[in-house]
Point group: D2
């Protein structure tokens, strides 16, 4: 198991879906940063369950406690431990699946790997763990804000409904105005209806979250292995239910010729080197080039559905997994703050790493 | 800069395109493994330039020297250093671009990050660095073979030409029978012609490499951050020119419902837990489930083209970057062994990591 | 700041002396280990303040809470988070030193490094942090016990009172029979009186803790940098107030000739390779050789004394630091479980690391 | 095996005593540093064998080759690979000990750990590996010089001959004026005679190297685990033949009272916070306080002696290990540049790490 992430700004998350709580220890945050608990709480609230009828009905306030690392409102350079107690544990809901392997969940693989698992709500494999990431990511956002970097994600696809506009054509300030977190109001409504209808059928559906980071100067990213997009990719793929990642032109770029795909350099009015197009997605050779960084992350339909499914149990016997409990019919609306959090953690770490670049 | 990869089986690569050579130090390889220099050389030869008229005409034998870590034909548990001397350096070819920023290359970002760069052939940012990865990956393959794991990649798309067959429908033994490394002979010929025509126009085109790992038992991968697919994704995205990664159902899975997407478990005739479909791509919750692992990696059209392009130089002045030198019109045929190498390194590392899973 | 330790069995500690609490996240503990809360509590009680009149009178029950990672009495392979709430915080005691730099404390250096510090009781630099290490170390002891390894430390010197007997001449089972934790009863009494007299004078005094690990098989330790004794040395030197470390013959070995110092090999009745002497301290070339591992750790007199001292404050002004508050007149009795804990963590990590040694 | 060291400035060493060569890959060196090959060569020459009749007579020029990372005389931020070819391999000298376990060498432990070993000259466990450290350390010295930090080591004890003067009482510029590397000429002569006499008897003897780092500002070191002295201790203990480490007052400090041991703060004429004594050794709470950092490292008598010794072979049979070959009768004269190199690497790494301390 590896529950740590980052090189200088490092996080170690812990906790299970139905244990006492979820938390994170953040190490390497520079001293002297204003610690804004309200902002962190607001980010947690964007991720918490029960926000609308298209998200799971589990009830969690997701309030956090600061155990260490903050003094008189500022970070002190010491580890910052944040704890979110679990409230609505309802362990009884899960007793019937103690020995069952739910299809496309991690029940079987955890059992195969460890020989034991906390089966309640998926235990450690539950997306509840991402609450800890969001709390840590909120702190990373505060650090990035200090250096002029913003991170904004939004839902760009639900099932077959795909927002064809690029991020430049959208008003990202509209993202939080609807439950789907799609900045295009008309599309947001269509997506909501799509998800709600899926929910009513007891089914689930996938989606895509697009993320844009602006204000990153040229020079972040550590090739040849820790390329900026490689680390972003890993961070995104580490989120529950993610199946794919692409940045800049992505998979569509495959079909282009180099003469179409190359981004021409020019010098702007301020003497800054820019590119006239941005198929590079703001990253060249694994290093930011000063343009906007953008990427897309694909989420599968969540595995929990309200339908009976064939499966086996720990003893290899055939069982029927029954569809009950609570679930998200589509994970992407709540995934938006998680994508932002992981992006912020990656970028903040690269910000700190590049401080030692030059003599 | 981060030129190290892996947790237990770790590699540290070094070298520039036109320096003395390229190399790798491999640490953490278990002692007692038969070191097969012929196999390593054969893998290097699959990656080396000048294989056919659709690859770059740079001439490199890519022969390697074992500097340490092998004794009487076996690994000793100590660091294994491999060195590949550069032969065809032709530094003069590059003098004209010393101060130029070639579009969609890493010239500008390296200069912005470090304030200095070895401009000859892209220096450290050249894909020549991947020779070191292929050498190390060959050793990882030898280790994996001991535990019954194979890794096979092939070209599944070139530009708009897409192989619609799944890996199960293909005979992967055919991959090496053609210059494109596509296991479908008819498609391989079409792809060859497509690339060759692109080359004649002085242009380049993108492609996709699909990779399949078979024989991985259930239990490899280290969630919550070092999920098997997250690490594979990072490894792929760290390869030059890669723009996207997806595993199992990938981006297409977004459009499915959970009821279609879930892989039903069953117990096979040997009492082994299996899934009847494999949209999970052999990985659930970030841990291998015993099914074949497969994923797709998208490569952009290479940035070097034989056409004049507008750009700027280090002083911000407008320049025309002239298309000369040698280049790969399409990188995917030579990327196949690189994808395999990085996959093997990731899997071998997870193999070693999971040895400490249980009491 | 670096509050993480270990490669496979990793700990991340957090917390300040007068914050909400102290804790640790333990990652990499194998699944299936019996989690014995009583044993962990008993180890914490060996370290806790207020045990006798020669230890600080701060009152802390040092009871811990398991936040994650344990299910039905066993470890699950997921991160184990343990939290010890601070009770007797008495922050007011420390307000008078908010701006003062106490001599030979970390007040000045934390301020110089971070520009901010939690001055209450030394904040993060307080030895209170070691409670988290003892809790984690207790778990490491449970793991080591499974593989037949024991770790026992004891006080071998207080000020000028030096126990001249080697560990073989002592009955280590006697260590816990007295407040000093010296296994020689007569010497223990002399040490107690020495410390108590020092305490009455408002002064403090140094000491040495000797530690012995038995049952470690040949093969643990990872040269060339992570030599077994190098890692033990780092672990010991990371404990508050430690000034020196030596293993086997140590500094005294300097004065010997090679012909005296070399440990002759022989084969014992069971066919096991042994050494007839053990000046190597159970470690050769950085790897355990199957003999007992032993080493000595030097602790300085604690910096807190009940006497007035000249110093300066944050503004560079001369101040008199007044001796008040609570303190340990000699740290070594309470350091014994800390030394054992760090030793156990180092050894358990090396146990897990060596599992990947050979094919 | 762990042959990597450092967090930001990282080294990976490789090579065996009688393989093709020894080398190091240095990662994380900032770009733009003047690369001074003459200085690096001069440091290697301080360590190389055959310097006088009190060092081993093995002949090695120890000339190095720069494989990567340097362009037009400057570091580029990319990995710097340095290779030192072995010349005087004389493998035949060692064939008689292929199956023997030399007393207090690493033959047995390497065999026990890996099941295979390169027995020629100790293979990887040979102190020849430290040549790579000295080359890397020379680069670290160049970096430290840029920020005003110097590192100077010297021999302060050989066998029972102990230099009682503190570093302040010595003229460290005299260190290189004699073969022993003791800055006190009279003591140097006595030590030389002592070593030479020991050599004539075919024996060996231990010694102590003292090291002083000056110019380190307050704020380097990363508690709670990577305390400055903890990392220095690990680095020293990772050097072949080291048995102990102490800094500041060290083991002698144990016998002092706190009232004697505490270093009083004062503000000097420049407004800088200083301490009037320096028993802290320049480090408080694991962080440099701006005073000189000093420590002592104990080396055992080297295990190779020119005398017959009882031992066993790989089959457990009794053998007589014959004293032949070449050896250092006392390791400390050649250890001086190694101690400096490791110290420089540790300090340079902490210099780079602390750049991210504060917002």
């Amino acid at each position: 198991m590896s529950s740590t992430y980052g090189k200088i700004l490092k996080i170690a998350t812990f906790g299970e879906s139905h244990g006492l709580g979820i938390g994170v220890v953040i190490e390497g945050c520079p001293a002297g940063l204003d610690f804004d608990p309200d902002f962190i709480q607001s980010e947690l609230s964007r991720r918490k369950p029960g926000q609308s009828r298209i998200t799971t009905q589990r009830r969690e306030a997701d309030e956090f406690e600061v155990l260490s690392g903050v003094f008189e409102g500022k970070t002190t350079g010491t580890p910052i431990a944040l704890l979110i107690r679990n409230e609505d544990q309802r362990s009884k809901d899960y007793s019937h699946i103690a020995a069952q392997y739910r299809p496309s969940h991690a029940d079987y693989t955890y059992q195969a790997k460890y020989g034991i698992r906390d089966y309640r709500g998926g235990g450690r494999s539950s997306a509840r763990e991402t609450a800890a990431r969001v709390a840590a990511g909120a702190l990373a956002k505060l650090l990035l804000k200090k250096v002029g970097v913003s991170v904004q994600a939004y839902v760009s696809q639900v099932g077959t409904l795909k927002l064809e506009k690029s991020y430049q054509e959208l008003d990202l300030a509209q993202t939080e105005t609807n439950d789907v977190r799609c900045p295009d109001a008309a599309m947001a409504q269509r997506m909501f209806d799509y998800i709600d209808e899926t929910r009513k059928r007891g089914d689930s559906v996938g989606g895509v979250v697009t993320c844009v980071a602006q204000g990153v100067p040229a020079g972040w990213g550590e090739p040849v292995f820790d390329k900026l997009h490689a680390e972003l990719g890993k961070a995104m793929l580490s989120i529950n239910a993610v199946k794919g990642f692409e940045y800049g032109s992505g998979f569509a770029g495959v079909e282009m010729y180099g003469s179409q795909h190359n981004d021409a350099f020019f010098t702007d009015e301020n003497g800054k080197v820019r590119t006239s197009t941005n198929l590079s997605g703001g990253i060249q050779g694994g290093i930011s080039n000063g343009e906007a960084i953008y990427f897309r992350t694909a989420f599968k339909p969540v595995a929990t559905i309200m339908q009976d499914q064939d499966s086996v149990d720990q003893f290899g016997e055939k069982v029927t997994v029954q569809g009950k409990g609570r679930h998200d019919p589509c994970v992407v609306p709540r995934a938006v703050p998680i994508v932002e959090a992981m992006t912020a953690l990656v970028l903040a770490d690269f910000y700190l790493r590049q401080l030692a670049n030059r003599i």
